[in-house]
């Protein structure tokens, strides 16, 4: 049936193109930016288990539940028709050498590690979710994003040797579909019960050990407004927030402890977090950043700025400056008069840690003279 096949190829390529556009076409409407990673029922279930709350809200529960329902009825139909990463990996199929470089399937193991670790509150390996992986491609300009981002070129390359080795042998989401299918589920579970038991054990171990490696809790990184206390562990590094930030202050962290590897953080080179923006909180598909209303965002305190007087143009050089005061949208900079010169002092009760001051500070000696210090867990400003 050549027509059915060519129809499928056309649909897949079309979806791949659309998904690519959603991922790298930004800035786009929030639903477009969020849709690809938010389609994964594995992400939404594992995260909800780990965070002990169904964070997705009514609207954003529909796409992953629809995908799950599809799996219950039709198994891997999503993989064969819709998954953009699957389509990408299937592109070299015709020229693939069809060697068996990975003889055993590890998808069940990965799936059960994720579930078991999530039960203990840390969705380890969830960053392997193919839709989070595909979304990551949007942040290719960020050097550190290539740490988890290398998955895509590696498995694309491996597909030249073993066709779709990722999809058939490793993908935890695909395995979840096999398991959810009402026809195959029982048999699949029985077949892989060894990996089920090993996965439970390894997942539990990972959830206990990982957070203790190079531990530096709370993290010194300033996190996007709405980030939970367990941001580093629950973020799947899909980088939807990195790409969606209109002022590009969400960057991929370089260095830090293992649990914070390549996680998004705020960096204030030029701009601060905009007073009237809550985009990142609206499009995080993992609940690592919770949805904030405009008012909640306005009250959210992600850090507190501190003036380093010895570097400050006003304090150290007696210059008329107060650029920090100028740029602060919350009137959190107080003026102290020193010999006729206005000098800045931060009011920590009003400062949100938005970084507008740090971004704009013109102190030349050390680059800047006012710095935001992270507040984790984040707080709410009263009044």
């Amino acid at each position: 049936m050549p027509t059915a096949k060519s129809l499928r190829i056309s649909v897949r390529l079309l979806i791949l193109a659309a998904a690519l556009f959603f991922v790298i076409g930004g800035p786009l409407p929030i639903w477009m930016e969020r849709l690809v990673p938010a389609l994964s029922p594995l992400t939404v279930f594992a995260e909800s288990i780990a965070q002990r709350t169904w964070y997705a809200g009514l609207f954003w529960s529909i796409p992953p539940l629809a995908v799950l329902l599809l799996a219950v009825l039709k198994g891997r139909l999503f993989c064969q028709w819709l998954c953009p990463l699957g389509t990408l990996y299937s592109l070299p199929q015709k020229v693939s050498l069809k060697k068996r470089i990975l003889p055993i399937r590890l998808n069940a193991l990965i799936f059960w590690i994720i579930i078991s670790a999530s039960l203990l509150g840390l969705p380890a390996l969830l960053w392997l979710d193919p839709l989070s992986t595909f979304r990551r491609a949007g942040a290719w300009t960020e050097a550190a994003a290539w740490i988890p981002g290398l998955l895509i070129p590696i498995f694309l390359l491996l597909s030249f040797f073993q066709p779709q080795v990722w999809c058939t042998h490793l993908c935890p989401l695909g395995y979840g579909f096999d398991l959810a299918n009402f026809k195959t589920g029982k048999a699949v579970f029985r077949r892989d019960r060894r990996q089920f038991i090993t996965g439970l054990g390894l997942g539990a171990g990972a959830a206990v050990i990982l957070p203790r490696i190079n531990k530096s809790a709370p993290t010194p990184s300033v996190l996007p407004p709405g980030a939970t206390e367990h941001f580093a562990e629950t973020c799947t590094r899909c980088y939807a927030c990195v790409d969606a930030c209109p002022v590009e202050i969400i960057k991929v962290k370089k260095g830090g402890p293992l649990s914070e590897l390549a996680m998004p953080e705020l960096v204030f080179n030029e701009y601060g977090c905009e007073e009237s923006c809550n985009r990142c909180s609206q499009l995080c598909p993992t609940g690592a950043i919770r949805t904030l209303s405009p008012d909640e965002k306005w009250r959210r305190q992600v850090g507190v700025a501190r003036v380093e007087k010895e570097k400050c143009l006003a304090w150290a050089d007696n210059e008329y400056c107060m650029v920090c005061d100028e740029y602060c949208p919350y009137n959190a900079i107080e003026t102290v008069w020193e010999g006729g010169i206005a000098c800045p002092v931060v009011d920590p009760a009003l400062c949100r840690g938005c970084g507008a001051c740090e971004g704009a500070c013109p102190a030349y000696r050390a680059g800047k003279a006012i710095f935001v210090h992270a507040l984790n867990p984040q707080q709410k400003i009263k009044g």
């Binding site: 002022v247 905009e274 009237s276 210059e319 008329y320 005061d325 013109p362």
Partner: protein, 300 residues
């Protein structure tokens, strides 16, 4: 070539003002010519600006054969018109209406402090510009727009990069809102030019007030129009401020220093509470003494 001739024109102009600088007191005493300043006062912003534009056209408009006007408003902040951090859109609306009617084209270049997508839109100024199909240029995203200029009379600031639009224009109009400013004490016309200077970030380290005065010795508008309808007297330049005053005035002059000095008196007892006005007096950039001005107060 257009560009060059404009540059030469400015050079000649600044050379002239250098002469003025040599003996400001002597000159102003010698010529009994007082600096004209018009202060329009009334509750209705539209009516205020209509009166202002009428006066502009009664006094030479934008100059003979003027075709291009570059307008410098303040659209730097993500704030609403009521919060008075940007030039009031109703005033700019009337300006554009009357200016375009006179046959000139207008561009509005601005180097905002926050993203133009926020500041141009929420200030209400983008809507006004769109209404008249006038281009607001977001200088943050048009790095190519800037050209090097020399500031012959600058004491500290001797070079700067400014948008080409101001050099190519036949007339430039400075139309800020008057408001409190943490580092500059007040921002009015002279301070408003900072929103055209690519290197403004370095001014604070060099001496902010001297740089403002230096730059204003170069950027001389055909008309200075001050929006003093609603003004912040604290928490400026962005606000929001709890200390608002509502003078409901529009101040007009060909001399931006005179316009600033009159506007400064709405906030302070003396214009010299603002250091760059004191420097402007000493450098002879414009008139700061109200006794040397012909101030016409017009109720609208």
């Amino acid at each position: 070539m257009d560009n060059l001739s404009r540059r030469n024109f400015i050079k000649i102009g600044t050379a002239g003002s250098a002469l003025l600088a040599a003996a400001p007191a002597a000159l102003s005493a010698a010529s009994k010519e007082k600096t004209d300043v018009w202060v329009f006062e009334g509750a209705n912003n539209r009516a205020l600006m209509e009166a202002c534009m009428k006066t502009i056209f009664e006094n030479g408009g934008f100059g003979p054969n003027a075709k291009k006007v570059a307008l410098k408003v303040n659209a730097a902040w993500d704030r609403t018109p009521e919060q008075a951090a940007n030039t009031h859109p109703e005033l700019v609306d009337v300006f554009l209406e009357k200016a375009l009617e006179s046959g000139v084209t207008v561009v509005i270049p601005e180097l905002p402090c926050q993203r133009a997508e926020k500041t141009f839109v929420n200030s209400g100024l983008q809507a006004v510009a769109d209404k008249y199909k006038v281009k607001m240029i977001d200088l943050k995203n048009e790095k190519d727009a800037f050209v090097d200029v020399e500031i012959p009379n600058g004491k500290t600031l001797k070079k700067e990069r400014i948008p080409r639009d101001f050099l190519e224009a036949d007339a430039i109009v400075n139309m800020p809102i008057a408001k409190h400013h943490g580092g500059g004490t007040l921002t009015i016309c002279m301070k408003n030019w900072m929103g055209t200077a690519e290197g403004r970030k370095f001014w604070h380290a060099k001496g902010l007030h001297q740089c403002i005065a230096d730059f204003s010795s170069f950027m001389k508008p055909t008309w200075a129009i001050v929006d003093a309808t609603s003004c912040m007297t604290s928490q400026g330049p962005q606000g929001p401020s709890e200390d608002m005053i509502y003078p409901q005035q529009v101040i007009l002059s060909k001399d931006q220093v005179a316009a600033d000095s009159v506007a400064a008196l709405l906030f302070h007892d003396s214009p010299y509470a603002v250091k760059y006005l004191e420097i402007a007096r000493d450098m002879g950039i414009g008139e700061t003494e109200t006794v040397n001005m012909n101030i016409q107060r017009i109720k609208v």
